[in-house]
């Protein structure tokens, strides 16, 4: 089991992606420690750090030859779902681990909620358009929310769910729905079929 896991992680280039992801979070954490006198990282920067932590993991969500891998005897959907959930757990843990230190990221529940929703969006993006284009929707929507949004009322809470306060129910429900939807979508389909001629090109 562990042998398979090791080979799988290497085939998806997970070690490098993990290093980049954790490294990016660490860089922001260090920069905040060095340059700011507040201990809680500002909200826009927290959200951007979540995105920065999740983005390097996007290429790991598809292998070099998905057509070949789909001929395997073992079922892929639960493994894919587990992969996506593991990405979410890793980034959340990395950000939550800063809580006892001198620079910590946001209310922990807000970080969990944001990370869950963004992971779901990434899963949806990969399932619909493949890993190369999957970053467009999460990053565009996040950027718009960070710039235009704030605590809102009524239906705008769904639109600006990332920037709502930690106790907001509508935003939490939105994030959970996005997470579940994304995991399901990615478990069922890992992306559009790659033409035979393009297989050698990789990602």
């Amino acid at each position: 089991m562990t042998r398979w896991l090791r080979l799988y992680l290497r085939s998806r280039r997970v070690p490098l992606a993990t290093a980049v992801s954790i490294g990016a979070v660490a860089l922001i954490w260090l920069a905040w420690l060095a340059f700011s006198d507040r201990s809680e990282v500002s909200e826009p920067l927290t959200i951007l750090t979540v995105v920065l932590g999740l983005a390097p993991l996007i290429p790991t969500l598809a292998g070099d030859d998905d057509a070949l891998e789909s001929t395997a005897a073992l079922p892929w959907p639960p493994r894919r779902a587990l992969h996506l959930i593991a990405c979410f757990v890793m980034v959340t843990a990395a950000l939550a681990a800063t809580r006892p230190t001198g620079a910590w990221f946001g209310p922990t529940w807000q970080v969990v909620r944001d990370c869950a929703g963004l992971t779901g969006l990434i899963g949806l993006g990969v399932a619909l358009a493949g890993t190369r284009l999957a970053w467009q929707l999460p990053i565009s929507w996040t950027a718009l929310q960070v710039v235009l949004g704030g605590p809102e009322e009524d239906w705008r809470q769904v639109l600006y769910w990332l920037v709502q306060p930690a106790d907001n129910r509508v935003a939490a429900v939105t994030a959970v729905l996005l997470f579940v939807g994304g995991v399901l979508a990615y478990a069922l389909r890992s992306g559009p079929r790659v033409a035979a001629a393009e297989v050698t090109m990789g990602q």
Binding site: L48, A55, I139, M201
Partner: protein, 444 residues
């Protein structure tokens, strides 16, 4: 070369990037429709603030195009061909520029059709701001192209987008400091405080130079084969950034008062009611309440015969107390139209009556109790509800007003008129101690 540019436009990700830019721009404008629907100056500002998001996205799109050569392993074949590298990337860069410009200007045109129907004042240089935006977007896309060629990993496009956003966020914090010049680099500067404030040419020039610097550096880096073009790119970028930071001046010098926008437009009939040209489309709504207020003010001797919109002669610096403004000419009462959200003040009558017609005459605002009481007396009620959006007074304040008005009404009629007129004249002269005038010298 034209055929190749057309091929690149059709077959590369230029069209996808254009679609993305259009969608994000429309989304950004759509959430703030009420703010810009009726004024060109506000529309160009809101359209330009989308650059905050669009520039990082353009950078990421350029990076995706830049990594195409290494990803598809075309390099070996291209290595046997003779075209120099700057000629080779020209069609790709041109296709990006066309796509980005078309998307940005298309959204501008779409919004402009709408604004043109509603707006009453068209500033001369309205088109310069979106053109500058096009240059900045092209610069970001070309810089991304260079980054994608240098590092063909799939991690680069989203990383560039997020790093671009993070830099914007950091710069945006600098714009809240009015003496800082670093905020000149931010693509979302402070908005105008009033509708007649226009962007100075130097601020637009600053962004234009920044965009041109980004574009030149991007092109040089993308075509670079040796260290010389790369060093030149670094120098160009540094120079352009320096100019963009220094030339526009501090954040407080970003806007200037456009006197053409402040030209008065008056309604027919008497008494005369005038608004500024930039608000001329609201004149019909304003005429009736203004004339009603003038009729009420006629109770006092020497009452004003004209109602004119208050205008400022200096740019408002957020956080300062001094709104500036023209002092009211004799016989004229001034009122303010510019409420947040763009709607006409629903309590216009009360606002004009506040202080018996002296609130917006260019004096600093103090001693509100006396002014509210005078206004309430003129209106004939116990209290006044001006839409004074910035300040919310507590119950004790309103109780004081009712109290003062009640005491005032208990005096003989002539004395009431004398005291309110005296208050009005004192407030018009910017005197500060107003309440004793109403209460006869004894402060409760």
């Amino acid at each position: 070369m034209m055929r190749i540019i057309r091929t690149e436009l059709r077959r590369s990700n230029a069209l996808t990037l254009a679609l993305l830019i259009t969608a994000v721009s429309v989304a950004a404008l759509g959430t703030s429709v009420g703010l810009w629907r009726e004024q060109w100056l506000r529309f160009t500002y809101n359209h330009a603030t989308a650059l905050f998001v669009l520039a990082p996205l353009a950078m990421a799109g350029g990076a995706m195009l830049g990594r195409r050569e290494r990803r598809t392993r075309v390099e070996e074949l291209i290595g046997s061909t003779g075209r120099p590298s700057w000629q080779r990337i020209s069609p790709t860069a041109a296709a990006m520029m066309v796509a980005v410009a078309a998307a940005h200007l298309l959204v501008f045109a779409g919004g402009a059709i709408w604004v043109a129907r509603n707006a009453t004042y068209t500033p001369a240089g309205a088109l310069f701001v979106p053109l500058t935006g096009v240059v900045v977007l092209t610069g970001a896309a070309w810089l991304g192209l260079a980054a994608g060629r240098a590092w063909p990993s799939l991690l680069v496009p989203p990383a560039l987008a997020v790093v671009g956003l993070a830099m914007q966020v950091a710069l945006a914090e600098r714009t809240s400091d009015p003496t800082s010049r670093l905020g000149n680099l931010a693509l979302v500067p402070q908005p105008q405080s009033y509708d007649w404030e226009a962007v100075t040419g130097r601020a637009v020039l600053g962004h234009l130079v920044l965009g041109a610097g980004l574009a030149a550096a991007g092109l040089l880096l993308a075509a670079a084969a040796s260290w010389r073009p790369r060093a030149a790119a670094g120098a160009v970028l540094a120079g352009a950034t320096a100019i963009a930071v220094i030339v526009p001046g501090t954040a407080s010098a970003r806007y200037y008062v456009d006197l053409d926008a402040q030209r008065l437009v008056c309604a027919d009939g008497a008494p005369q009611v005038c608004v500024t040209a930039v608000h001329a489309n609201r004149l019909p709504e304003v005429v009736a309440p203004a004339r009603q207020a003038l009729a009420l003010l006629a109770k006092l001797p020497g009452a004003p015969k004209r109602a004119v919109e208050w205008r400022s002669d200096v740019v408002y610096v957020p956080g300062s107390d001094e709104p500036g403004g023209f002092r009211a000419a004799p016989g004229t009462v001034q009122f303010q139209l510019d409420q947040d959200g763009g709607d006409v003040d629903p309590q216009l009558v009360d606002s004009i009556l506040n202080g018996a017609g002296t609130t917006y005459n260019g004096c600093p605002r103090i001693d509100e109790v006396a002014k509210y009481a005078a206004g309430a007396w003129v209106k004939g009620t116990d209290d006044l509800q001006p839409a004074d959006g910035r300040i919310a007074y507590g119950d004790q304040f309103h109780a004081e007003i009712s109290d003062t008005v009640g005491k005032l009404r208990s005096l003989p009629k002539a004395e009431q008129i004398r005291r309110v007129t005296a208050l009005r004249d004192a407030a018009a002269a910017c005197r500060t101690d107003l309440l004793p005038i109403l209460t006869g010298g004894a402060r409760p």
